[in-house]
């Protein structure tokens, strides 16, 4: 064992650098599986959008793009505060790390609140697929029952995304407690770094979901 080996380095690693590289790579491998997880839904979306372009166009206009834009802003802000949390952790500033983790959590919760309100309006508008779906609703004069496919995908994709946000909030809570207990330092902040990677990944998923679901040609 070399003398640079401190208690912060798990015994299977040579040094802190190798440990950090392994941790980061591990998180990226997990994120690749996540890309494929969401990828399946994006694929289903693509196939059905090619098959039912009219239905997707009309159904998409029933989503509130203002709320979608606000939520994208909120999520981008949360990514910035997450980046600042990692930055503070790198500099060994414990209090600042805690503050940025809390701000990130507040923004994440705000996102879920807006999402919940949107779900509620879809419920009152009978746009949730199933027996109570507004099947006889006229979409600019046409009867388009296949719009249900759009809303099924909308709920599946945003639902899975929201579930990831909940996990993210859980991770942030755990990070907050660990930071408060002084478990991180300039030399060891790997959990903050990789939880940050996870949070930014959720942000990227939303960056793609937003135009796919809310912004299908609103010019007519």
């Amino acid at each position: 064992m070399s003398d640079t080996h401190s208690s912060l380095v798990a015994h299977q690693f040579d040094d802190g650098v190798q440990q950090k590289q392994a941790t980061t790579l591990g998180m990226w491998v997990f994120l690749i599986t996540e890309i494929m997880f969401f990828g399946g839904l994006i694929l289903a979306y693509t196939v059905y959008r090619v098959k039912y372009p009219e239905e997707f166009h009309h159904a998409s206009k029933h989503l509130d793009y203002v709320m979608g834009t606000v939520n994208t802003c909120v999520l981008l802000c949360s990514s910035l505060t997450m980046a600042f949390a990692v930055h503070a952790a790198q500099e060994g500033k414990r209090k600042l790390t805690m503050i940025f983790i809390v701000v990130t959590m507040v923004l994440g919760a705000a996102f879920l609140g807006v999402k919940g309100w949107e779900y509620y309006t879809k419920y009152t508008d009978h746009l949730i697929p199933g027996p109570n779906y507004a099947i006889n609703h006229l979409w600019e004069g046409a009867l388009l029952p296949k719009t249900q496919i759009f809303f099924s995908l909308y709920f599946a994709m945003t639902g899975l995304h929201a579930f990831h946000m909940l996990i993210g909030l859980g991770l942030m809570t755990w990070l907050f407690v660990k930071t408060k207990r002084g478990r991180f330092s300039k030399e060891y902040y790997n959990p903050v770094e990789v939880c940050g990677l996870y949070w930014h990944f959720i942000d990227i998923v939303w960056i793609f979901l937003f135009p796919l679901l809310y912004l299908i040609d609103r010019s007519h």
């Binding site: 802190g16 650098v17 950090k20 590289q21 980061t24 790579l25 990226w28 491998v29 994120l31 690749i32 890309i35 494929m36 990828g39 399946g40 994006i42 694929l43 693509t46 196939v47 090619v50 098959k51 793009y65 834009t69 994208t72 802003c73 981008l76 802000c77 990514s79 910035l80 997450m82 980046a83 600042f84 930055h87 790198q90 500099e91 300039k186 770094e193 940050g196 990677l197 930014h200 990944f201 942000d203 990227i204 960056i207 793609f208 937003f210 135009p211 796919l212 809310y214 912004l215 299908i216 040609d217 609103r218 010019s219 007519h220």
Partner: protein, 103 residues
């Protein structure tokens, strides 16, 4: 080439610039949805989304400052997603080109 030390600290200014660019791109993508582009709407929307995604990956997720192994890992995820979608679309869009007897 960028020096990658393992504890590279990205200056806060970089984060602010990336964040501002992401915000501008968000409003561009919303505005473009109201421009009648017909079938090109989706290409413009996806090009902007990919630019935003790349900015987040490179700067917020520190890939720009990471070692080559991380570059390969991040790239592989994207390449496999492209294969998944491109090959499936090749199948769906070419169905009906050739008449299959008995179908």
């Amino acid at each position: 080439m960028i020096e990658h030390s393992e504890n590279h600290i990205v200056p806060k200014k970089t984060y602010y610039i990336v964040f501002a660019t992401l915000m501008v791109l968000l409003f561009v993508t919303v505005a473009m949805a109201f421009v009648p582009l017909g079938p090109f709407n989706i290409y413009v929307a996806m090009a902007i989304a990919m630019t935003k995604g790349a900015l987040v990956v490179l700067y917020f997720m520190h890939v720009r400052y990471s070692n080559r192994l991380i570059w390969v890992a991040a790239g592989a995820g994207f390449v496999w997603l492209v294969i998944l979608i491109a090959f499936t679309l090749a199948d769906y869009s070419s169905r009906g080109w050739i008449k299959v007897p008995g179908k």
